[in-house]
């Protein structure tokens, strides 16, 4: 399962894309966030951290599979 990274999340993880082994068996957005915050504690210290599933903000109960486009969205700051 791949997760695209942007902004400060690239600095926290030192990567542009995270590869998560299928053996982690992550089923929904909530599990993905919990896994990533545990692996990279810096993510948990951000003022917000959203997950996008197929280019839409997703609640914690949204199911995920390896065919979805997943991304971590740190606090936005356009404009």
């Amino acid at each position: 399962m791949q997760v695209l990274l942007f902004g400060i999340t690239r600095e926290i993880t030192s990567q542009d894309v995270l590869d998560i082994p299928a053996s982690e068996n992550l089923k929904d957005v909530g599990q993905l966030k919990a896994y990533l915050k545990q692996k990279y504690p810096g993510l948990g210290r951000l003022s917000s951290l959203a997950v996008a599933v197929n280019s839409a903000y997703a609640n914690e109960d949204v199911q995920i599979t390896c065919s979805d486009e997943l991304a971590l969205i740190p606090p936005v700051s356009g404009g």
């Binding site: 695209l4 942007f6 902004g7 400060i8 600095e11 003022s47 996008a52 280019s55 839409a56 903000y57 486009e69 991304a71 969205i73 740190p74 606090p75 936005v76 700051s77 356009g78 404009g79």
Partner: protein
Amino acid sequence: MERKKKNVFIQGAIPPEFIAESIAKHQSKHSIGAHNIFLGQIRADNKEGKVVSAIEYTTYQGMADQKLYEIREEAFEKFDLSCMHIYHSLGRVGVGEICFFVFVSSPHRKGVYQATEHIVNRIKAEVPIFGKEIFEDQTHQWKVNS
């Protein structure tokens, strides 16, 4: 009517001439009676003694285009608009330069004020654009919209 996804992103600062040309292009549209424009400019914020010299913007473009499309469609439904143009910089934009340009046109003035504020607020809150504030000493910090 389904509108196409428009190209919003411009590399670097938005030149004042580009804004003037955008206005000129609407002079042939004679049903328009009111334009309203919002321009975002890079501010030399002072953060604990360090002064911002530029902001470097990046985006998650696939999602940003989708969000901007939704925001445009919703604004056209909600307000009586003839035209709407949104531009945002990517890459480095120095203090005093323009990074964000929202241009709304309507037959009458009433809707354009509300529409502009609505569109600007939604973009600042929802569109995945990330600004890295570069200080004069070349250190940086990631901006968070309030």
